[in-house]
C-alpha cells in the first residue's frame, strides 16, 4: 500500500512541478540573455489567469476542438502515473515504455487534429510540420528504448530504472550513452524546443507547436499549455529514469527517498540548464534541415542497438 501511495505522491509531484520547470528554463534563458526575466513561478500565474478567462471558439470548429484539451491533459496525467522520478515505484503495470510513447502520440494526434479543425492556415501548417517531426523522431525514441530494454530485459520503465540503478556501473557503456544522446534530441524535438521549434516565437510562419494552439483561448489554452509543460517534465524525467537513473530510491526508506528527491531535482535542473544553453546559443533550424538532425538521432539510437549486439 505504501508503494502505491508513494507512486501517487510522485505523480502529483511531477504534475505540480511541471510549470516550475518551464519557469526555470525561462529564467535561465533570460539570465543567459542578460535579462531579468519573469519569476520562475510565472507559469502558475499565467495558467491561473487563463483559467478565469472566457474563450473564443471558431465557428468552423467541431467537437474535436472541444475534447482535445481534455484528452491531452488526461493522457499526460496517465503518462505521469507510469513514470518513476525519485523512487522506483509507479503504476507501471498499467503500461510500459511503449505505452508511454503511444500516450504521447495520443496527445500529439489530437493536437494536430484540433489544429486542422478551425480551418486556419497556421493550424494546418503546424499540424503538417508536427506530424513530420514526430514521424521522424518516433523511431529514434523507440530504438533508444529498445536499447535499454535489451540491457535490462524489460520494457517496463520501473523495472528498467531499478535494474540499471542497482547494477552499479556494469551497464554503463556505449549502448546506454548513445541511446541517452538519441533520446536527448528526442526531448528537444518532441517538446518544441530549439533547434526544432522555438517556443517563444510569435512569427506564425516559423512556428510548429504554437501554431497548432492559435485558436485556443481561456481554459482550453490553459489545459493545452499545461499539458505541454507536463510533457516536457515527463520527457526530462524519462531521460534520466530510463537511461541514467542512479540516485533514485530503489527501496522505501527515508534516507533513500530523501536522496532520491534531491538527486531528482538536481537532474531536472541539469537538463533545464542544458536546454537553456542550447536555446540561447543556437538558432532554430530550417524546416527541411530538420530531417538531418532527426535521422541523426535515429542513427545514434541504431548505433546504440548495434553496439549492444556487436560489442
Amino acid at each position: 500500500m505504501a508503494d502505491l501511495v508513494l507512486a501517487l505522491i510522485q505523480t502529483a509531484a511531477l504534475l505540480a512541478l511541471a510549470p516550475l520547470l518551464t519557469g526555470i528554463i525561462r529564467k535561465l534563458k533570460a539570465w543567459m540573455q542578460s535579462r531579468r526575466g519573469p519569476p520562475i513561478y510565472q507559469p502558475y500565474l499565467d495558467l491561473a489567469k487563463l483559467m478565469r478567462k472566457g474563450s473564443v471558439v471558431s465557428e468552423d470548429s467541431s467537437w474535436v476542438t472541444t475534447i482535445t484539451p481534455y484528452v491531452c491533459l488526461i493522457s499526460m496525467v496517465v503518462a505521469a502515473l507510469l513514470v518513476p522520478a525519485f523512487v522506483t515505484e509507479s503504476l507501471g503495470f498499467l503500461g510500459d515504455l511503449i505505452v508511454l510513447v503511444y500516450l504521447f502520440a495520443m496527445t500529439r494526434f489530437f493536437t494536430a487534429l484540433a489544429a486542422l479543425d478551425a480551418g486556419s492556415t497556421f493550424g494546418g501548417m503546424g499540424s503538417s510540420r508536427e506530424m513530420l517531426v514526430s514521424s521522424l523522431i518516433e523511431p529514434a525514441i523507440l530504438l533508444s528504448f529498445f536499447t535499454v530494454a535489451l540491457l535490462t530485459g524489460t520494457t517496463s520503465l520501473v523495472s528498467v530504472t531499478s535494474v540499471i540503478a542497482t547494477s552499479g556501473a556494469s551497464l554503463i557503456g556505449p549502448a546506454l550513452l548513445l541511446a541517452f544522446a538519441a533520446f536527448l534530441i528526442a526531448v528537444l524535438a518532441e517538446n518544441a524546443r530549439v533547434p526544432v521549434d522555438n517556443p517563444s516565437t510569435h512569427l506564425e510562419l516559423t512556428m510548429i507547436h504554437e501554431a497548432m494552439l492559435l485558436e485556443y483561448s481561456g481554459k482550453d489554452l490553459a489545459l493545452m499549455e499545461y499539458s505541454s509543460m507536463v510533457k516536457l517534465t515527463l520527457f526530462v524525467t524519462i531521460a534520466w529514469s530510463a537511461f541514467l537513473p542512479w540516485g533514485v530510491a530503489t527501496e522505501i526508506t527515508a534516507p533513500a527517498l530523501a536522496l532520491g528527491v534531491i538527486v531528482f531535482l538536481a537532474k531536472l535542473l541539469t537538463l533545464a540548464v542544458v536546454i537553456a544553453v542550447i536555446e540561447s546559443s543556437m538558432a532554430k533550424l530550417r524546416l527541411f534541415r530538420l530531417p538531418n538532425l532527426l535521422t541523426g538521432a535515429f542513427m545514434l539510437a541504431f548505433l546504440a542497438v548495434m553496439s549492444y549486439f556487436v560489442l
Binding site: I98, M106, A118, S135, K219
Partner: protein, 686 residues
C-alpha cells in the same frame, strides 16, 4: 456430415455444424433470392442482404462453438477420382471465420441502405447475387481442408470479387482496375496451385491433414524453399506485398465501398491465413531465412504502403494503400514468428503469431469501418477526392464520430485495438535478442525501426485524412451540404466501431481465443503466461506489461471528470463563437490547408524513395513582381508499374508481334511450316 468430437458439450458441436451448414445455405439462398427477384429491386436488396446478414451471424456462431468446444469437420465427395473433400474448421480457421462473419455482418447491414443508390444505374440483382457468393467463397476458403477444394474457392473468391470491383463499370478505370486485380490474383493462384499441389503430391494426398503429417519430409531443402517461395509470392500477391501490391490501390477503391470493406478487411487476410498454414503446418518452417525474408518484405511493404497512402488524394486509394501498410505490419509479425519457430523458440514464436493474428483480426475491424465510412462520405459528396471535401463533420456528425473511432484504432491510439496488436508486435521483436546471431538481431532492430516509422507515418496519414475530410471548412460545392448517412450505414459502422473499442479494451479476454488458433499452429499455448485477465505480460527476463482494460478505464473516467471539473472551475466563463484567426484575410476554401499541403513536408523528406515530381507555375499574364494564379502540382510516379510491370508487358507484346509474322496468309508458307516440322522431326527422332 456429422460432428466429430464426443463430449459433454456435444450439443454445442452439433450447433456449430448446423450453423456452418446454415451459413452456406443462407448464402446460396441469398444469391438465388437475388436472381429470382430481379424485377423488384428493393425486395431484392432486402432479401439478399438480409439473408447475407443471417448467414454471417451463423458463421459467427460456428466460430464461437469451435472456440468453446473444438474443431468441427465433415467430408463429401464431388469429384470421385480426386477422393473425398474434407471441410474442417479448426481454431485457426474459426478465427478467420469470425473476422469474415463480423465484417460481412456489418457490410450486409450497410448494403441495405448503400446499394439503393445503384437502382436505375446498374443491375441490382447482379450485385445482390454476387455479394453473397463472395461471402460464401470466403467462408469456404477458410473451411476447406483439401487442396483442390481450397483452390476452387480461392479462385471463386477472386472471381466474385473481381465482378464486384467491375460493378460500376461505367466509371472511369473501374473495368481495367478490376482486370488488373484478377490477373494478379490469377498469377498468384498459379504459384499457390503449384506449391500446394506439389506438396500434396509429395504427401500422396490432397488432404490438409495428411499434408501436414507429411510436412515436407523427404523433400530436399531446395524443394522446400522453392515451395515456400511460391507460397510467399502467391499469397503475397493476394495480400498485396510490395512489389505485388499494384492491383490493390486500384481495385479496392474502384469497388463499391461495402465490397472494399470486405476485400480490404478480410479477403486480403485470407492470404495470410493460408500462408500461415503452408509455412507452419505444411512446411514446418525450418529455415530461418524464410522468416527473415518475410520480415524484410513486410518492412518494405509497410513503409512504402504508408508513404503512398500519405501521398494519395483519393480517400479510398489512401485507405487501400494503408491496407498495404498493415499487411506489411502483419508480415513483419509473421516473419518474426517464423524466425523464432525456426530457432525452436516456440514461446516467442507463439507470441509473435498471436500478435500477427490479433493485428489481422483488428485490422479487419477498423479497416472495414474506415472503408464503410469512406463509402458514406463518397456517397454524400459524390467525389472521392479529399481536396474537394472538408467540413463534413458538421453535417455528418455521427458518421464523423464513427470514422474517428476507426482512425484512432488504425493510428494505434490507446486503448483502441490497433494499439494492442502493435504493442505485442514490438514486444515480440524485442525478444529477438535471445537469438544469438548478430545479423538476425540487427535485422530485427531495423524491422523495429521501420515499424516505428510506419506507425508514426500512419498517424500522420490519418490526421491528414480525418482532418481534410471532416474538419475545417468545405473546399467545394459538393461538400457544402452533406446529408447524414442512412440508418443502416450508421448501424453497420456502429457495430464495427463498438468492436474496435471493445476488442482493444478487452484484449486480455480476446487473447485466449487467438491463442487457441496459434496453439494449433505452433503447438505451444501462451495465453496463460500472457494474460491473467487484467494485464498483458511479456517476460523477457523482467516482466513488461500493459493493462488495456485499466488504461481504458482511467482514460474513460478521467476525461469526463476533467471536463466537468474544468468547465465548472471558477464559475462558468463565457464561450463565444468567432471567426477563425487568419490575419484578417477573408476566410474561404483557398486559405485552408489542403491534403496536398498537409503531406508535402513528409513527401519532400521521403522523396528519395518516392521519386515524386512537383512543379510550380504561375499565370504568365500576371506581373513578375506580384505573382497571381500560381499552380502547384505534384505527382508520385508509379515506380513498380513503370520499372517492373510495363517492361514485362512490353516484352510479351514485342514477342507476340514478332511471332505474328508467321501468319502471313500465304498457303505456300503454311505448307512450308508443315514441311519444316515434318523434316525436323524426322531428322531428330527417326
Amino acid at each position: 456430415m456429422g460432428p466429430v468430437r464426443e463430449g459433454p458439450k456435444r450439443w454445442l458441436v452439433t450447433l456449430g455444424t448446423y450453423s456452418f451448414a446454415a451459413t452456406i445455405t443462407l448464402g446460396a439462398l441469398a444469391t438465388v433470392a437475388a436472381l429470382v427477384t430481379v424485377r423488384k429491386e428493393r425486395l431484392c436488396i432486402n432479401l439478399s442482404f438480409g439473408l447475407s446478414a443471417l448467414a454471417s451471424l451463423m458463421g459467427l456462431l460456428t466460430s464461437i462453438s469451435v472456440f468453446l468446444e473444438g474443431s468441427m469437420s465433415f467430408e463429401f465427395t464431388a469429384i470421385p477420382f480426386l477422393g473425398p473433400f474434407a471441410v474442417v474448421i479448426d481454431p485457426l480457421a474459426a478465427l478467420f471465420l469470425a473476422a469474415i462473419s463480423i465484417v460481412a455482418l456489418a457490410a450486409s447491414i450497410y448494403s441495405l441502405g448503400y446499394v439503393q443508390q445503384f437502382i436505375g444505374r446498374y443491375s441490382i440483382a447482379k450485385f445482390c447475387a454476387l455479394f453473397p457468393l463472395f461471402l460464401v467463397s470466403m467462408v469456404m476458403v477458410v473451411a476447406s481442408s483439401n487442396v483442390f477444394l481450397f483452390l476452387v474457392f480461392w479462385e471463386l473468391m477472386s472471381l466474385s470479387s473481381y465482378l464486384l470491383v467491375a460493378y460500376e463499370h461505367e466509371e472511369e478505370g473501374a473495368a481495367s482496375a478490376a482486370w488488373l486485380y484478377l490477373v494478379m490474383a490469377h498469377l498468384g493462384t498459379a504459384c499457390i496451385a503449384s506449391c500446394l499441389l506439389y506438396l500434396s503430391l509429395m504427401a500422396g494426398s490432397l488432404d490438409f491433414h495428411q499434408i501436414s503429417l507429411y510436412a515436407g519430409q523427404g523433400m530436399t531443402e531446395l524443394a522446400r524453399s522453392g515451395a515456400f517461395l511460391l507460397a510467399l509470392i502467391g499469397f503475397g500477391a493476394k495480400a498485396g506485398i510490395v512489389p505485388l501490391h499494384v492491383w490493390l490501390p486500384q481495385a479496392h477503391p474502384s469497388a463499391p465501398s461495402n465490397v472494399s470493406a470486405l476485400m480490404s478487411g478480410v479477403m486480403v487476410k485470407l492470404a495470410v491465413y493460408m500462408l500461415i498454414r503452408t509455412a507452419f503446418q505444411f512446411l514446418h518452417v525450418d529455415l530461418m531465412w524464410w522468416g527473415l525474408l518475410t520480415l524484410f518484405v513486410g518492412s518494405l511493404t509497410a513503409l512504402l504502403g504508408v508513404l503512398y497512402a500519405i501521398a494519395e488524394k483519393d480517400i479510398k486509394r489512401a485507405l487501400a494503400f494503408s491496407t498495404v501498410e498493415n499487411v506489411g505490419i502483419i508480415f513483419i509479425a509473421l516473419g518474426a514468428a517464423m524466425v523464432f519457430y525456426a530457432q525452436g523458440m516456440m514461446q516467442i514464436a507463439a507470441l509473435a503469431l498471436v500478435a500477427c493474428l490479433l493485428h489481422v483480426l483488428f485490422h479487419s475491424l477498423f479497416k472495414s469501418l474506415l472503408f464503410l465510412g469512406a463509402g458514406a462520405v463518397v456517397h454524400a459528396t459524390g467525389t472521392k477526392d479529399m481536396e474537394r471535401m472538408g467540413g463534413l463533420g458538421k453535417g455528418m456528425r455521427y458518421t464523423s464520430i464513427l470514422f474517428f473511432i476507426g482512425v484512432l484504432s488504425i493510428s494505434a491510439i490507446p486503448p483502441f485495438n490497433g494499439f494492442i496488436s502493435e504493442w505485442l508486435i514490438f514486444q515480440s521483436l524485442l525478444l529477438s535478442y535471445s537469438i544469438h546471431d548478430v545479423t538476425v538481431n540487427l535485422l530485427m532492430a531495423i524491422a523495429l525501426g521501420m515499424l516505428a516509422l510506419t506507425g508514426a507515418l500512419a498517424a500522420a496519414c490519418f490526421v491528414r485524412i480525418f482532418g481534410s475530410v471532416f474538419l475545417a471548412r468545405p473546399r467545394s460545392e459538393a461538400a457544402k451540404h452533406p446529408r447524414e448517412s442512412h440508418r443502416s450505414l450508421l448501424l453497420a459502422m456502429s457495430i464495427l466501431a463498438g468492436l474496435c473499442l471493445a476488442t482493444g479494451v478487452l484484449a486480455a479476454q480476446i487473447i485466449p481465443m487467438v491463442d487457441q488458433a496459434s496453439t494449433d499452429v505452433i503447438g505451444v499455448s501462451i495465453a496463460g503466461q500472457l494474460t491473467d485477465g487484467w494485464v498483458l505480460e511479456v517476460d523477457g527476463g523482467e516482466v513488461s506489461s500493459v493493462s488495456p482494460i485499466l488504461l481504458a478505464g482511467l482514460l474513460g473516467l478521467m476525461i469526463p471528470f476533467a471536463f466537468i471539473l474544468v468547465r465548472s472551475w471558477g464559475g462558468r466563463t463565457p464561450r463565444v463563437k468567432g471567426k477563425t484567426w487568419d490575419c484578417g484575410t477573408p476566410l474561404g476554401p483557398r486559405n485552408e490547408y489542403t491534403p496536398t499541403g498537409h503531406s508535402q513536408p513528409i513527401l519532400r523528406v521521403f522523396n528519395p524513395f518516392l521519386r515524386g515530381e512537383s512543379s510550380l507555375s504561375s499565370d504568365p499574364t500576371s506581373s513578375p513582381y506580384s505573382r497571381r494564379g500560381m499552380t502547384y502540382s505534384s505527382s508520385i510516379p508509379r515506380l513498380f508499374e513503370t520499372y517492373l510491370y510495363e517492361p514485362v508487358a512490353r516484352t510479351i507484346l514485342g514477342v507476340a508481334r514478332r511471332a505474328s509474322i508467321i501468319q502471313t496468309g500465304s498457303v505456300q508458307r503454311y505448307l512450308a511450316y508443315i514441311f519444316a516440322a515434318l523434316i525436323l522431326l524426322l531428322l531428330v527422332f527417326r
